[in-house]
Symmetry: C2
Subunit: 448 residues, 2 copies
């Protein structure tokens, strides 16, 4: 009997699940349903495509024909799944019923837009699909002033992109800092200052109250003030898309995502649902930084989760463990990165973190092109275990934050990490003692 | 009583030991003896200073006055220590006797030059001190063809620098590949091809037999052939400088370095020598990649060792554990990096390594400026423990190799590492699945 595997969603999680299922079962019939028109692209690229650094066409590397030809995976685009019947093991798409032996839910996230007046006006955009990105680029052509609501990484990347296009940009944020929650104020403030130097205005501590205008946007009211603009972009976060899980009665966690087992199977009233898997922005997973759930809504997490869900849907036995969720965002000349918990979030969880911090350079101090690098590492006061890390660097943040993420995930204490950390050195690529190691040294000193 | 600490050597190990001793004991009298004229510089920078990318003056960041003023450390330059008396606890420099309570040996390495005819001719150079570097730069001005003996990282970096100065460069190597021992042929060959494309000639499998000419060099004979040239640079490795240890009768290990305890104290016939420490290129340490000794002759290792030796000399209790010795070399457009054992060396030690390998990019495939990256990771067939890693990348090798070095040092298996590895993703800085993770996946597949 040929196994019928159905995957709902064609983002990083869904497409990876399909490829992973194919590797695990060469004979299965694999079908991907997606409402999107483009598949297998990274929405993270939208700011760079909007500013013109990357061509829209180059971003979509693979189309349904590729998957059909190379992997015998059928991808049905613009095809919505209306409902799932987990007893009959069927999905319903526009009245047509498809049987499955294993189902992977990978319906991703929905952009959260605050429920305010005027959020549906012409000139209001969100940042999720390539179509959103293209629409933003095209609409921005006729607009001088743009308000970006939300100063998270996507908001700041969009602000930077639009500023490079010559737009007058104002960023409105309800918290008292940029990159709230995942970065601490001492790490975020220099990024805000950098963007302010480039002419981007920030309005902090200001919840957005309304989008104003007749049919088209003419301004935003936030914190009691009006900010005139011709266009509004909401980058106010992503919530798990749980339409189908709700319809199925799957257990939803306290962070709003589908609760899954380490095999990435969802639950219904505490019992695992057979032959069903979930991956990507819609699920909750376990944090490696503290005992508790987290949402790891990152493309890289979706890929890892999709690989596990797809393999298991094809009869495999893969597991997905606790995560440190390393992230990196490029904001003009700076790479900002983090993993695990920020100091603010760790304190909120009652973890009483101790912080080490160091500043230095990405190359030998005297080497041409050396850029500044600041690293912050935190550990639990009682456990000494590494709970989080943040970094601002002119270059080279990626591998370094992955290094620290690995320390969090393997449960190292600060002292373990110091013993197990050495850095490669060459004047054009690093200091003789890397800033990461200096930050861990500082942390160990403070833990004494 | 004020503690008298004497440090012999002003390289990365010696100078770090002095600073570390000062931090541990604010009152000690700390004196550094050095034969060098410049102190506290990184010899790794010489190739870039020779080619003119870095000014010689910028390289020496601190002089003896700085140490006297800022840290109350007396640095005596061009001052050779002739002998040490460990019973009387004295050192003799030009007939003057200095008492010590604690002594740190940090006399570094000596460039190894094969014992061949003509190696003392005018126009023959080694690459160790800034004076060597300045002399090479100045002599090269009047020369068209240069032979570099030794295709290790320093040899290749020098070849590249001289090629950029418009010189006709031939590299002669006795092994059958460039970067022998620490890199495998499959990783080294692309670097050789890259340098050949730039016009650098390679003569492999050719031991150098003689340097020819009257007073001045006019050629090198290697593997039975003569290669005419006006200048010869020996980059044929560094041996531990053990003049003083030999005079003292300290135990020397099978790799030619001083055997030390984890507190970095040397031994005499198996017994620790009290109040004496050793650090830097002159010592043997333990490998984290296999149970056995290794020479970690890297600036970054010297800094870590110096910190331990200096602290202990001041009465502290620091330890230096097994090392993975991550290294990185920049050769034109490529960063070449490694940690732990190469496949060749691991096999030579009888470890039967299994290799995983992956190719990809340093940024999203479509992102402008994306450069190729190849990662190789090896693990013991029986233990599955990560034993080594190598990388060639257009950018971003440093943090990634440090990440893998940490996995080696903490004793992770390939499967551990896969569970504990996530990567940060942003199109300008990484692929959605980093090449490091793909290589570890490949390795885990092969270990099954």
């Amino acid at each position: 009997m040929v196994r019928e595997i159905i995957i709902i969603g064609s983002g990083a999680a869904g497409i990876t699940a399909a490829s992973s299922a194919r590797r695990a079962d060469p004979d299965a019939r694999i079908t991907v349903f997606t409402e999107d028109t483009d598949i297998a692209y990274s929405p993270c690229v939208i700011p760079w495509a909007v500013e013109g650094a990357v061509a829209w066409d180059s971003v979509v590397m693979r189309n349904p024909e590729h998957y059909a030809r190379e992997k015998r995976i059928e991808v049905l685009t613009q095809k919505r799944v209306d409902s799932v019947d987990d007893s009959a093991r069927t999905v319903d798409s526009a009245g047509r019923i498809y049987d499955y032996d294993a189902l992977v839910l990978a319906t991703g996230g929905k952009v959260f837009v605050p429920p305010i007046k005027g959020a549906d006006k012409e000139g209001v955009f969100t940042v999720r699909t390539l179509q959103d990105g293209r629409a933003i680029q095209s609409y921005a052509e006729g607009v001088g002033s743009i308000v970006v609501c939300g100063a998270g990484t996507i908001g700041l990347e969009m602000a930077m992109a639009l500023s490079r296009l010559g737009k007058d940009v104002t960023v409105i944020e309800m918290m008292d800092q940029v990159i709230p929650r995942i970065a601490d104020k001492d790490m975020a403030d220099p990024i805000q200052a950098y963007l302010e130097d480039r002419g981007i205005r920030f309005v902090l501590n200001a919840p957005v109250q309304s989008v104003n205008g007749d049919e088209r946007v003419c301004g935003v009211t936030a914190g009691g003030m009006e900010y005139p603009c011709g266009m509004v972009i909401f980058a106010t976060g992503v919530r798990a898309n749980i339409d189908i899980p709700r319809q199925l009665g799957l257990d939803i966690g306290q962070l709003g995502g589908v609760i899954v087992s380490p095999s990435l199977q969802p639950y219904k009233r505490g019992r695992i649902v057979p032959d069903m898997y979930a991956a990507g922005d819609m699920i909750q997973c376990m944090s490696a930084a503290m005992p508790g759930p987290t949402m790891s809504q990152l493309g890289s997490s979706a890929v890892r989760q999709g690989a596990v869900a797809g393999k298991n849907a094809a009869g495999g036995r893969a597991m997905y463990g606790p995560v440190a969720s390393p992230w990196v965002s490029v904001i003009g000349d700076w790479e900002v990165a983090g993993a695990g918990l920020s100091q603010g979030l760790a304190s909120w969880y009652g973890a009483d973190p101790v912080c080490g911090k160091a500043e230095g350079f990405t190359r030998a101090r005297y080497y041409p092109g050396a850029k500044r690098m600041t690293v912050k590492v935190l550990a639990g006061k009682a456990t000494h275990r590494i709970m989080g890390a943040q970094m601002i660097a002119g270059e080279g943040a990626t591998g370094r934050i992955d290094w620290l993420a690995s320390a969090i995930m393997s449960g190292m204490t600060a002292e373990d990490l110091l013993v197990h950390a050495e850095n490669a050195y060459c004047p054009p690529t690093s200091m003789v003692k890397d800033v990461v190691i200096s930050a861990v040294e500082d942390l160990c000193g403070k833990l004494k």
